[in-house]
Symmetry: C2
Subunit: 412 residues, 2 copies
Amino acid sequence: MPIIVQKFGGTSVADAEKIRRAAERVIRTVKQGSQVVVVASARGKQTDALIADALELNPNPPMREMDQLLSTGEQQTVSLFAMALEALGQEAISFTGGQIRMVTSSDFTKARIRSIDAGRIHRQLDQGRVVTVAGFQGVDEGENITTLGRGGSDTSAVALAAALGAEECEILTDVDGIHTADPRLFPDAAKLKQISYDEMLELASLGASVMHIRAVGFGKKYDVKIHVRNSATDMEGTIITHEVPQMEGVVVAGATVQKDMAKLSLIGVDNVPGNAAKIFAHLAGAKVIVHDIIQTEVSPQKANLSFMVVISDLAAAKEATEQIKAELNCQDIFVREDVALVSVVGVGMRTHYGVAEKMFTALAKAQVNIDSITTSEIRISCAVDEDEAEKALQAVCVAFELDKPAELRAKV
Amino acid sequence: MPIIVQKFGGTSVADAEKIRRAAERVIRTVKQGSQVVVVASARGKQTDALIADALELNPNPPMREMDQLLSTGEQQTVSLFAMALEALGQEAISFTGGQIRMVTSSDFTKARIRSIDAGRIHRQLDQGRVVTVAGFQGVDEGENITTLGRGGSDTSAVALAAALGAEECEILTDVDGIHTADPRLFPDAAKLKQISYDEMLELASLGASVMHIRAVGFGKKYDVKIHVRNSATDMEGTIITHEVPQMEGVVVAGATVQKDMAKLSLIGVDNVPGNAAKIFAHLAGAKVIVHDIIQTEVSPQKANLSFMVVISDLAAAKEATEQIKAELNCQDIFVREDVALVSVVGVGMRTHYGVAEKMFTALAKAQVNIDSITTSEIRISCAVDEDEAEKALQAVCVAFELDKPAELRAKV
């Protein structure tokens, strides 16, 4: 019998009525002939409430104790979910991360999954039960409870689907699927039928928040078919899967805009081997996450080096670069705080010409000035003035016909 | 270094301020030269709230899932407690029942403790940490979470004290200790300095609610010194301990009254071997808890048999006795629903005459009619009219001078 993992986020299990509706959905899936494993998050704002309780007692709580505390939210949801299933006549059993040996590293609050004991779940499924598993949590080798970080329930669900050999991992959420662009910024954005892991990874790292990036990475690694769909309807959502030939025909899967970015430029750095490594090691040491590095040679001896950071990392980034300015023999550091990054993503770019040109033309027509450009194999990003970010995104969406499903767009 | 177990009930950890105050108390005990293990209950009304959440989804929730759910309350308290200790500069670590291998039977919602791994706690204590342990919970052999039933945190604390070889198990609560009688009914009741396990067991089974009866039983079995004291003061409370010679001098340690009792009398039962066993086996099968059995022979062939039950068990008890009335050749069944049980308890009764007489005289002077009398080695109980219960208790308390500490009472 095929196994389906169904992951319900916090809003889909926020109260008794929502848990009951989620349970009804699970039972429909069982009746269609599948074994179902539910992965659930903490109810509604429970995690935030527990964090507030902790901070009231200790502004800097030990991370191990935070995980011990926060893991209770998911444990409550899955036991309540099992009760709801039983009340509807479906046998069910709930498990914590520890009970299914979801063994992780000991990096409290951001642990990484190492292994899962699928056997205990299989035995319950084979007895006709639905298994509800607390997302977001595991245990380390020393039986300490760990958590996987925000959005970790997605990762739990995909990892479980991989361990169980599930046919599909459904991510049930409050949106209809993945869109070509954020519908709040481009209301005509089309829903994607499918998208490749690589495209989804690029979109997620560019701020598309529907799926957690680690979950997508897990899906790619173990080739888990991920189905992002609306928990309130039976409509098909978006399938995230490995690359299939027809994806090549779609030049641009989606477009994103990231606001609240800042750009740092190090002017006239000595162009000697190891200098770039030195600066980014220093930034990593300061826990600054760096985006979109550009280096250009300005003379045989000197180079300019720029990169982007989210605005909340700017102070740390500035301090870190100032600290090694002299060592790099850097002449000056410029900071631009009003930058946004507009990007298009698509595996079809690999085999199609003219994508960059089309994007730049669209921005030019919309009178948007491009500050800098970076590309990967399946992505083109333009830094633009933050005030012009939304206009830029809309221009790009229109140019690439992101209001239409892929099959209805003009052939390139 | 001596080990002290300090158990804090739900009201003593109800909010951040109370947890902080409890943590300060723990640190004072550490500074006095002890290793401290904290056992804590769920905060305030958290357990009740979780039960309500469960019943909203399932009026008859699976017991395993209830335990999975309810155990989160204590887990939250002990991680928050550890954070509070750390904020005050005291290193601390929290454990769930599972993490210290508090292995229990699989009787969900009323599991019994089988073994505890004291090693993990000792290792942490020896590193200078305070260990906070979630009360009320354990795991069975199959890694299912279990709970010990209402008041189970007391049992956890005493069992841990036994396993750790602790010098003392402090039960920190909102009363000053054990009193000779319930101060709400006899305001002059004196606080006891000490009381034997057997006396406390009798008092607890007669409805004195300060200590959980299973915890006292554990204390007796492993000879754990239990100190019931007020969490809000540094005042000494009451020590529950094994019997010491000076206790013999105290004829009556305390008096209780149990209201909401009913008395069933089976009239003219065939007086043949096995009939009494038959009826009480039948009542046990109906899950009726029976108190104070009295059997009297009325002829060589016939006996009358009566017993008491709490009023909530009355319907089940009536049904069960009606079912076997014919088999016992019982002539009639009488039920009295307005009965209360007034009792005095004391190990000194074993060696002193005249206790029963003094009690009956006191009740007679107070114009209280005695319906029936039962005794154990250290207890005398009188069934009285429920309306006269409080008057009866007060009369008994005055007669035995229960308003005075034991050493100030008239010698018998």
